[in-house]
Symmetry: C2
Amino acid sequence: MNITTKGRYALKIMIDLAQQGEDQVVSLKAIAQRQDISMKYLEAIAAILHKADYITSIRGKNGGYRLSRKPKDYVLSELLRLTEGSLAPVSCLESGCPNAEGCITQPLWAGLERHMDEYLSKITLQDVLDGTVPG
Amino acid sequence: MNITTKGRYALKIMIDLAQQGEDQVVSLKAIAQRQDISMKYLEAIAAILHKADYITSIRGKNGGYRLSRKPKDYVLSELLRLTEGSLAPVSCLESGCPNAEGCITQPLWAGLERHMDEYLSKITLQDVLDGTVPG
DNA sequence: TGAATTCCTACTAATTTTGTAGTAAAATAC
DNA sequence: GTATTTTACTACAAAATTAGTAGGAATTCA
């Protein structure tokens, strides 16, 4: 039951970008140094965020990234779903398990996923920045 | 973000034992056949359950396992914690991260774990058997 | 032109998950 | 008291996923 480094580092990228100033262009090199993460690995994660248009890239010298939206407009459930692939605690929830009907445990996993989603859907990047993550 | 087969198969063992009748002694061979899971793998998982006294073993011919308690006395959060090791979505919550104080994301992960725990603490094995898992 | 940076593809290493194999020990049935 | 069935234990192995590297092409700025 783990959020991988992919999801955690993605969040760190978003937080770092926000903290440097919303319209500031920040290079991965700078983020890698501040967060003490391999820059090459961050590249791969930034690619995911960029592809989904969560961050905007500026290529070339003095280039880097910045947030595409305001921090309050990023919802944690979506960010994690993007980087982790899914929030489903068991794969049968995702890929349409043929036995889903008769499966006695299915409601349990579905309920767990729903609860996680409900919690994470209430939290925005801004909340994380402010330290006002709801209990 | 996954519950592994270890946790899922452990639950299947518990469900199977309950369904065969509470005082019935059931061999892993029978469970393996019914649930279509390798018996050798089930052995390893049953060992965990046995060690924690979730199930009682009867060795020798006609031996097997049965539940140690009533189904309503098994709480899902505990069962999953036992087999999965932890419900913490990030390892820094478990092993006392030295940077926990200054970590801006810590409240998010802690909140997520608490929500998962709250949900799973309300559900017993009996609920799963009855199909009355709370929404 | 040179330096800094994103972008892209492929590869590799480490870790975890998911098992398997083999054998010992216990209990029962005969 | 022997054969059979079953759990208990230890060690190993295969597969999958996660995490990270390497190298270079394309882009932009100075």
